[in-house]
Amino acid sequence: MPETKTKKPIITVWRVILGVIFLAGAYATYLRFVVGWSAATNLSDAQPWGMWVGVATLCGVGLSAGGFATAAAVYLLGMERYRPIARAAVLVAFLGYVSVCVGYAYELGLPWLFWHALIYWNPKSVLFDVMFCILAYTTVLTIEVSPAIVERLPFNGFKKTYMHWHHRLATAVVLAGVLLSSMHQSYLGGLFLIFRDKMYPLWYTPALTTMFYLSAIPAGLAMVIITLYLCNRSLGTKVDPKILKEVAWVISPMLILYFVWRMVDLVKHGGGPYLFKPTSEAAYFWLEMALFVFLPVFMLNNRWVMNRPEGVYWSSAVVIAGFITNRVNVSINALERATQANYIPKWPEMAVTVMLVTCAILAFRYAVIYLDILPKKAKSTRKWLANAGVAANA
């Protein structure tokens, strides 16, 4: 994370890193759009989808799941305790989706024709549904985060009208958002259903939709936790660590549910015999399980770890690492045996992905500094709760 104080040397380690990331990203962008695919990627006819789909899209969307989960908890289920982090969670989701949309500019062969998707409909295509949900949900997220910007505008009349209508429509918007994101979190898994005969049995299941949904929520919540932990550390926000601990506490049963469901499903659909074969796929599978289930469940249930904020942070970080492993396995490793592509991303692919993530982090940082996203004083947390109504106190 970049640091906060401005009264410091102009050249800092973080700024140098940022500079390198942006230079590399800019050069990668040049390679992709001016020189061509083969200079920028290792994609081929055998492996037409690579890191930009597997990491930038699948993980970007998945790690944004904390937005709808938190919004549902706070705005629909009345869990007022989590109100202080709701805005931040929704902002994380918004930036996640925006970077996915930008990432698609790199990923599509003809990005300037992206609007075709809006006029030529193919309802039989899962990708069509994914795209439609992403566009609709990005709109919903824009509406959800807009008050944070509008309330800073100097035009009082407009502000009042906007907030009035926003308040009236808020519940409907949140509800639509929860439905939309639930749908396409699952549909991202649905994308892979049609690769039935090419996917390695450890990952192919007709329940890929359910699996993607079940795994996205804990990963999304972990993303919210590490974001807020880093904000507390480097931006001086005052999010109650207890709240983060409570959110982390929810993750572990979700991971166990996912694991049990996944295993039952795997055996049911004939993946069982492949579990202990000496293949690279089995190794990837167990790595995924170790990072996404075993290690985090152990950490999240260990009192010594959970009693310190860094412990909560690192458990969440492991969850995210496991989640990314899962998505990369599904989208790249599960297909390699059938396609024989031996795909390893080229550096510009990685540079673009890192640049997109960095942009999102920077945007989040400035939003927290300049907008009312997170409580900045311990006192204001109480005011937030007070504003939310007496229910918070009950």
């Binding site: 759009f33 081929s44 705005y75 049609i194 005969d197």
Partner: protein, 260 residues
């Protein structure tokens, strides 16, 4: 099934590997160059040597193409005459068709800055729609590839299998993935020639359709449930508020404006 649906019958036992089909295909699509060993953006059909057997590889023109159901803009469609055609003016370049195809046929113009998908179009525009046979069928000197009505081709294939015991009693493309417009006959198991043997005959689009069909239900049930839950929490909040107003408040309540 339409009776005037066209198909190609490719008899692997007859093929002599002369590459005339590959050459004719290039010519018909305005591409120059020698026949290539693998499918590429310039080679839409190839003849591959698989353990001494010459096997043609190109788009199979499935009855229910996986690529067509995958394409988000509906640029790939199955025509009534049989060919699966690609409308490049709709394509956005997502390349979902390429992985969706169980036969791994579609190719991409990786070298171009405005790349499009490339695959065999069964000479639809220039020939088949005008009632002519495909370029490859016309060029084949030994009749290993013949063109005609699909029903007629199936009858011919069955006749050959009955007449000659060397054939494997299986017409590849009759039922695989719901059937295709390319039919293959062979005297060796198709599995050994690199053909994809699907676990069931169900066309791939049905696999994703099952997931898509759940959507309206999810929206309806999920929406009702969430709205119900919201109603309950909202009601509870109102009750609490009313009760709290009767007592003294613990701390002043600011404006009721929600932070959403």
């Amino acid at each position: 099934m339409a009776t005037n649906k066209k198909a190609l019958l490719i008899d692997i036992t007859k093929c002599i590997g002369c590459q005339a089909c590959a050459g004719a295909c290039k010519e018909a699509h305005g591409v120059t160059g020698d026949p290539e060993p693998k499918l590429s953006e310039t080679a839409l059909t190839v003849v591959q040597d698989k353990n001494g057997k010459f096997v043609r590889k190109q788009c199979l023109h499935c009855e229910q193409p996986a690529c067509g159901s995958a394409c988000l803009v509906g640029a790939i469609t199955k025509t009534a005459a049989g060919p699966v055609v690609y409308d490049k003016s709709k394509c956005v370049g997502c390349r979902y068709c390429m992985i969706a195809c169980p036969h791994s046929v579609p190719r991409y113009e990786w070298s171009k800055l405005a790349p499009y998908m490339k695959k065999c179009d069964m000479c639809y525009d220039k020939r088949v729609s005008k009632g002519q046979p495909t370029a490859c069928a016309e060029a084949c000197p030994v009749g290993a590839t013949i063109f005609g009505d699909r029903d007629e081709m199936l009858r011919e294939a069955r006749r050959r299998i009955l007449d000659d015991p060397k054939y494997v009693p299986h017409i590849y493309g009759e039922r695989e993935y719901g059937g295709a417009s390319m039919l293959f006959l062979s005297d060796v198991e198709f599995e050994k020639l690199g053909f994809m043997i699907p676990p069931t005959e169900a066309p791939l689009p049905e696999v994703s359709k099952a997931a898509l069909d759940e959507a309206p239900m999810v929206v309806l049930v999920g929406g009702t449930m969430l709205a119900g839950l919201y109603w309950i929490t909202n009601r509870r909040r109102e009750v609490l508020l009313a009760e709290a107003q009767k007592k003294t408040l613990k701390f002043p309540v600011g404006d009721e404006e929600e932070r959403s």
